[in-house]
């Protein structure tokens, strides 16, 4: 069976966007941790605000995107609020896209 790297998973997750902000969830700094064990992937992530209306869509997007990868057998997404998301977690690309420095 093929194995999948953390780097590859981050690349794949760059295809999942926050539909309100129009920025992908990796550059937004929403992904806190990625654990890979025998093809089983555990994602620990957050949202920009508690009660984010896009919560289900984004989590579903992560599951669908990674679930479609052959080397991944299962995906589990855990959304945490601690530590809370802060804007300094965003990449330069995300800041640029949001048009504010």
């Amino acid at each position: 069976m093929q194995s999948v790297s953390e780097e590859k998973i981050r690349e794949l997750l760059k295809n999942v966007y926050d539909p309100e902000l129009g920025v992908n969830i990796v550059d937004l700094g929403l992904i806190y941790d990625i654990e890979i064990k025998d093809g089983h992937v555990e994602i620990t992530m957050t949202m920009t605000t508690p009660g984010c209306p896009m919560h289900n869509a984004i989590v579903g997007g992560v599951e669908h995107t990674l679930g479609a990868e052959e080397a991944i057998q299962s995906v589990h997404v855990e959304v945490v609020w601690n530590p809370p998301w802060t804007p300094d977690k965003m990449s330069e690309e995300a800041r640029e896209q949001l048009g504010y420095f």
Binding site: N15, V16, Y17, P19, E20, L21, G22, T48, T49, P50, G51, C52, P53, M54, N56, A57, I58, G60, G61, V62, E63, H64, T65, G67, A68, T86, P87, M90, R95, L98, G99, Y100
Partner: protein, 410 residues
Amino acid sequence: MFRLPFSFIFTGIAGFIVFHLLSLGTMAGWIGDVPRGPDGWFRVHLLVLGWATMTAMGAVYQLISVVLQGKIYSERLGFAHYAFFLIGLLGLLAGFRYGQVAWIAGFASMAFLGILLFVWNLLATLIRASQWNPITVSVLCSLVYLTATGLFGMAMGLNFAFGGLSAWHERLFGAHIWFGTIGWFGLLIIGFSFKLLPMFYLAHGYPTRLQHVVLWLWNAGAVVGAAAFLCGGSLLWKGAGFLLITLASIVYNVHILQIRKTRHKKTPGAGVRWATISTGWLALLGITACILCLADPQIVFHEKTILLLAWGYLWGWVAFTILGYMSKIAPFLWWTYKYGPRVGQKKVPSMADLMNERWANASLAVIMASLLILMAGIGFDQMSVIRLGGTALSLFSLAYTALIIRVFTR
């Protein structure tokens, strides 16, 4: 959850369209007529209940989960609320249209029953979530004022049919309007804005102390103003109500500046930007009313001034905020329903792709310009200017509504 908020918002949009078509039918001439008559009541209730309240209730069902991170207490109760409120409203409107006092009394009671179901559902949701902060307290207070508004409205309807409260009618009328416009709409908008504005601006680390100040001042203004009407109070007490609401709106604007100062997104979108502009307008309106009140209290409580303040407040702030937020609410509702489940499976549009920002911005700008023309017409007693402003207001509002409806076809 899609069907429940969609039912309310769709019905609200329909009410808005009917209101403007009927207004265009008179070339907006009804605005220059005496407002307190069956035709005026019909039109005002169509706009305030058929559009603004209907849409606000739908938005509450949609957004309460964002505020509380939990579901509504009962979706089924929500549909019962929709049925009672809609049937009650249609009968009430027909009662006003055809001058049938028995219909007004009966259907006002039915609409009030719908309001009670809404309040029950929301109270149960808030109590279950048990998260008390300026956002939830503001929503809770708005529900209390909505109940009082409905109760006084129903009492007036029953008085039309059976009498017995004639001595109280004027007092109830004043408190009904004050609680409905200031209490219900005011605190609902403020409460949800405390949550939504930071989200749309992607603001973080802003202070929240002023939220408490706004809440106290606004509530004090709502209670003092309504009490002044109910007790047949002096102009001084009514003026105190105006002053408190003005102070609250100034502090509210300062808080919005605090949010904007900590934003990480350059623009929140045209609709939200116009909603914040309208909040500045609210403070300006209040300050003007207070200056007038100090100069000559009789002027402020003159029928024409009240009419101007009502248009300025209800259209300039309440309606503008609803229209502005609709540019987010409609795409969010449709996107989560149609595209939410497809994320990661197919290429999906962003929410911004569902609404034409440039057209939304232009429509809202000309709606504001039309309102100013209309208010100038009322102020200077110029019927032709009223017609011009009112007709433009309806035409551009319909154009903006077309942009909103288009979202649901994308």
